[in-house]
Symmetry: C2
């Protein structure tokens, strides 16, 4: 079996590391060969799955420092076709790449906004005067370094190796526990036999809902459904409905399986007190380690 | 009385429009003259207040399309000194600026990531092939337009006028209800007499809390405090604690005054079931219209 995986490219990004880790898992566990397809944005990687061109998109959903990747939440809410198939969590390493010999020479630092944000304390301490320039991926700035000794880029040590750029500082991330959750997203229309099997065994469930307008206490009522049944919510996040200020969609992750009677009951009750409810998937967390 | 206002510059940004509107309000209502001080980032604008260099920072907190401005939430949580003094809401207008005569010639669009996100549907429909380049403010890309007929920038019609750049499309935002909430943030150490008066009259209260670890249902318990007293929450938002994946800080906006007995009770109860609780301010929404 051959499968295609879309991810935020180019080669050397953290999304590629996640896609490679998933490809290894597929090879070992499902005897499947995966082809990796880089896309210039997370939105386009997800669109490739909606359009049926690609089997799975491997997309970051949440980082332990910077929080949710909102484009993924918004796209899942707006699309009725995408579903979360599996999840994996990767440790994140940020190095400072530069052809300069010392930090004193650096005037500009390039990287993806999420990486700049995850290293902001280190940058304030060691490079307080530099200009930070956002790029579309962590690797985009690397090509600019050779011609400019005053420039640096934040990217993974793996990217430094792949692009043969010097690693001036191997680890500049602010938190030792920096890690990112990735979702493997597929199309509900897909006829892959693994989809159904997955739902039967899924340990985690993600969903989102909007609430009836002008209903004070509506959010608490919705959350009480889970509390009464002692269903543990591992995450809650609000996003604007994009209709008007002060109207939100709530995204929830919980532990449980769709076929469990308690969960079934809770979802039926929740559906009754929400405006729109959407279940994104019932999936497993893959035990993946990065080589 | 002379007051200084920090905001995300340079001239022509939406933050400057908000700072100007607040300066007008100060002139009419408090006989104060305000000096506007542009800063290269929202973080530095807030830092200027912490350091006591500037009286107030005027910072965007939430947009109706793109959601919260997370750097403001994170900075308020981490600083024990900043407080929300007042709030104002501005309608947001996004135009497409370019020296090109037609959309067909455009290959690159520059703007702040929030503005690019707020116009993404229009861009997908009318300029699906262009490269989107994030900049530090909505006005930064305007200087690049004159030398490049294939480039465009998303900025306010006011910026087009200020920088004398042609407005190719006057309104490209995705939602007619696009508006942004701004907070006027001051230092708690400030001895401005208006601070205390403000708290006595404030109609809105913003706070944040973290929860004891491994306590299932702790969030529902915290929210029930408000539901039982029929205190309306106008917003709830989660952000990572930055300690480890799955631990959150919850940011809440509610209607009420700190001196009201119900609110006092609710905050005391909330404090007992949270780990850390921080009250950002009890403030008024200013009735400001933009000329």
């Amino acid at each position: 079996m051959t499968l295609s995986l879309a991810y935020l490219g180019p080669t050397g990004t953290n999304s590629e590391t996640a896609a490679l880790a998933y490809a290894n898992w597929l090879a070992s566990n499902q005897q499947a060969i995966a082809t990796l397809c880089p896309y210039p944005s997370i939105a386009l990687a997800l669109q490739s799955v909606v359009k049926g061109k690609i089997d799975y998109a491997v997309v970051p959903i949440e980082n332990s420092i910077e929080g949710s990747v909102t484009v993924v939440l918004d796209t899942l809410w707006q699309s009725t076709d995408l579903q979360v198939h599996q999840e994996l969590t990767l440790p994140i390493f940020h190095g400072l790449l530069s052809y300069s010999q010392s930090l004193e020479q650096i005037e500009t630092v390039y990287s993806h906004p999420q990486a700049l944000a995850q290293c902001q304390k280190w940058l304030e301490n060691f490079l307080p005067q530099v200009q930070l320039i956002p790029t579309k991926s962590t690797t985009e700035g690397i090509s600019l370094l050779k011609d400019d000794l005053t420039a640096a880029a934040i990217a993974s040590p793996r990217a430094a190796e792949l692009y043969q750029a010097p690693l001036l500082e191997p680890d500049i991330k602010d938190s030792p526990d920096n890690c990112t959750r990735f979702w493997i997203v597929s199309s509900q229309k897909s006829d892959r036999p693994s989809n159904e099997e997955q739902v039967n065994q899924g340990s985690h469930l993600s969903l989102a809902f909007s609430l009836p307008q002008n209903a004070p206490g509506a959010l608490v009522k919705a959350l009480e459904v889970f509390a009464q049944k002692e269903i543990n919510l591992s995450k809650i996040e609000s996003r604007p409905t994009k209709r008007s200020l002060g109207e939100y969609i709530f995204f929830i992750d919980l532990e449980g399986n769709f076929h469990d009677a308690q969960i079934k009951d809770a979802l039926a009750q929740l559906s009754a007190c929400t405006e729109i409810m959407r279940i994104f998937g019932n999936y497993n967390l893959l035990p993946i380690s990065v080589e």
